[in-house]
């Protein structure tokens, strides 16, 4: 390619590059820089605060902060239950869609995608009201079956949030898996049918292995999202602050450190730590799933 043309091409990306530096690189650098300092009260707290360089002290504190580590463990454990559950349902629905006529598939797909169109905050508001013992229909429904469930009780908060996330995520994940299914060469099914394989067998031995890539991808996206969960617990906290503490998830802790405790330096260190954990989790997940393929 002619040299001048190369630079003209590069020029098309300049606005993005400038924005990226200002909105991504600079903030990350700033966060890392901030995380190395700490605001300290001089004297007896009367002499005003000074900012001191403390090196990795904030990180040390973060790694031994039991509230922070507990919140990470909490979302990781939750992810281990909710994500496989959601993805298996999405996979089954995608296989079901693949088995019906194109017309029926189109109609069901739209209906199943309705939750995806709803903003997360609104979805949480709707479900919180459905769960509510005063206005929601679920409590009387439970009573009908002799169940005395309270969705805001400590033991029910995660299942309640899990149901909300599952409801919100099934459609989107299903569409991704379904479109991967469309790529399976149809001759394979015919050949398997000629060999006498049942539809269930075809689904399990041909279709599922074929969409493995899509499953890994949807799982990875869900893991990344889950480690950053904030909206749903924040809204649940509105309703039942005694069950959903302000240190329920990592981002909630970071937000509180920054805006309620005005401890930006520590919040910055925690968000760098979270980024590292996120990167590590994605890397491990990727390695694990790609090794299985060999």
């Amino acid at each position: 390619m002619i040299r001048s043309l190369r630079w003209k091409g590069a020029a098309f990306t300049v606005p993005f590059q400038l924005g990226f530096v200002f909105l991504y690189l600079l903030p990350i650098g700033y966060a890392v820089h901030q995380s190395l300092f700490l605001q300290k009260q001089s004297g007896l707290g009367l002499g005003g605060a000074t900012t001191e360089f403390v090196g990795l002290e904030n990180y040390q504190q973060g790694l031994t902060d039991s509230a922070f580590m507990t919140s990470i463990l909490r979302v990781v454990l939750f992810a281990c239950v909710q994500i496989p559950f959601m993805l298996i349902i999405s996979l089954i629905l995608a296989l079901f869609l693949d088995a019906v006529t194109a017309k029926a598939a189109g109609r069901f797909r739209i209906m199943l995608l309705v939750p995806y169109m709803i903003p997360g905050v609104v979805a949480a508001i709707v479900w919180i009201n459905l769960y509510s013992p005063v206005v929601g229909p679920l409590t009387p429904l439970g009573e009908l079956f002799g169940l005395d469930w309270n969705f805001f009780a400590p033991s029910m908060v995660w299942p309640a949030i899990g149901n909300l996330l599952t409801w919100h995520g099934i459609g989107y994940n299903m569409v991704i898996i379904y479109s991967a299914l469309q790529g399976v060469p149809r001759e394979l099914f015919e050949a398997a049918r000629l060999d006498g394989a049942s539809e269930l067998r075809i689904a399990l031995s041909i279709k599922v292995p074929f969409v493995r890539g899509a499953l890994v991808l949807t799982a990875l996206l869900s893991v990344i999202q889950m480690l950053q969960i904030f909206n749903e617990p924040a809204l649940f906290r509105n309703i039942s602050p005694e069950t959903v503490s302000d240190s329920f998830t990592p981002i909630m802790i970071i937000y509180n450190q920054a805006f309620n405790a005005a401890n930006y330096h520590y919040a910055a260190a925690l968000s760098v730590l979270l980024a590292l954990i996120l990167g590590l989790a994605s890397f491990l997940f990727y390695r694990l799933t790609s090794r299985e393929a060999d």
Partner: protein
């Protein structure tokens, strides 16, 4: 009108391209076999019924909360607490709407306008920048291209907190916190849009076309604005739609950078109302529910109007 026609053209072009790739060769044999063996759908009626039942149940689960929300929005406080949650009682939708739009001096309308401003203007600017960047990355070979693309993909992994907190501090230093700019500026740079735009350019803009335009003496800017952008209407529409939905749904960024409620988004306002009904003595449940229903309406309209484009966008972005 011309826009949608263009999109359709592009859509069918892509469709036939893909179709010819997959339909070539072996599928001929497939049709012969299919003639000898009945369609699997017709083969097992019971299985088919089971599958349809499963899909119907899942659809009911998906639609039920929306159905309940629609019904709840038509009830007043008394109806909400005392009538059957699954069916209409006295119809109070108009009063509820009036209440939503007049409560606290009509702040709800302001939030709606803000959401449209941030999502509309921010996504439009962001889409233009993304299309230019995607085109630059896909069709030019310049030094540093790999670095830019690596930054785009790598940034998918950065947690929002890591970006938003320092951004808040930076914005507060230059006096942008609590202004619409604090929402609009971050929307201009969207790595996922860039990624999508690159994928779309690769699919829609052939090198030969650019060569031909250059031989005819067209400048690079002119080629971009009058040829590339026009051929990218489908891709551009998808990028815009996804960015719009993202901004409309955003919560952590507005919560962090917007303090005064006159600049809030619908999400922030509803979050605030939803917390209020417990904290203070006033019960605003039906207000929250009617507001929640209203905030879905623009999304639903957009999704239905553009479903052909966004569906491909979602899956393409995820799979490529």
């Amino acid at each position: 009108m011309a826009l949608t026609e263009n999109m359709k053209e592009n859509g069918t072009e892509n469709g036939t391209e893909n179709g010819s790739k997959t339909a070539a060769g072996p599928s001929g044999g497939g049709t012969v076999r299919r003639r000898t063996r009945p369609d699997p759908a017709a083969r097992s009626r019971g299985g088919q019924r089971f599958v349809l039942l499963g899909l119907a149940l899942a659809s009911a689960y998906s639609l039920f909360p929306v159905y309940w929300l629609v019904i709840a929005a038509t009830k007043d406080q008394v109806g909400l607490y005392q009538s059957n949650g699954l069916w209409f009682s006295d119809f109070h939708l108009w009063e509820n709407l009036q209440q939503v739009f007049t409560y606290e001096g009509g702040i709800f309308l302001r939030w709606t306008a803000n959401s449209f401003l941030y999502a509309g203007v921010g996504s439009l600017g962001g889409t233009l920048i993304a299309l230019a960047t995607g085109y630059g990355l896909a069709r030019f070979d310049f030094p540093g291209r790999g670095v830019v693309f690596a930054a785009v993909v790598g940034s998918f992994l950065i947690p929002i907190a890591l970006l938003t907190l320092p951004l808040y501090l930076m914005f507060s230093k230059i006096g942008l916190v609590d202004t619409p700019w604090a929402m609009l500026i971050p929307c201009l740079i969207n790595p996922f849009s860039v990624y999508l735009a690159k994928v779309y350019t690769e699919a829609a803009i052939p090198f030969e076309l650019l060569e031909a335009a250059r031989i005819d003496g067209a400048g690079e800017l002119r080629i971009f604005f009058s040829i590339v952008l026009r051929m990218m209407t489908t891709g551009g529409a998808t990028v815009f739609l996804l960015a719009f939905v993202n901004t409309w749904n955003a919560f952590f960024l507005p919560l962090t950078v917007l303090r005064g409620q006159e600049n809030w988004t619908l999400n922030l306002g509803l979050y605030n109302w939803s917390g209020k009904r417990v904290e203070s003595g006033i019960d605003v449940t039906s207000l929250v529910l009617t507001g929640a229903l209203l905030s879905i309406v623009p999304m639903a309209i957009m999704m239905v109007a553009m479903r052909r484009y966004w569906r491909t966008g979602v899956t393409m972005g995820a799979l490529k």
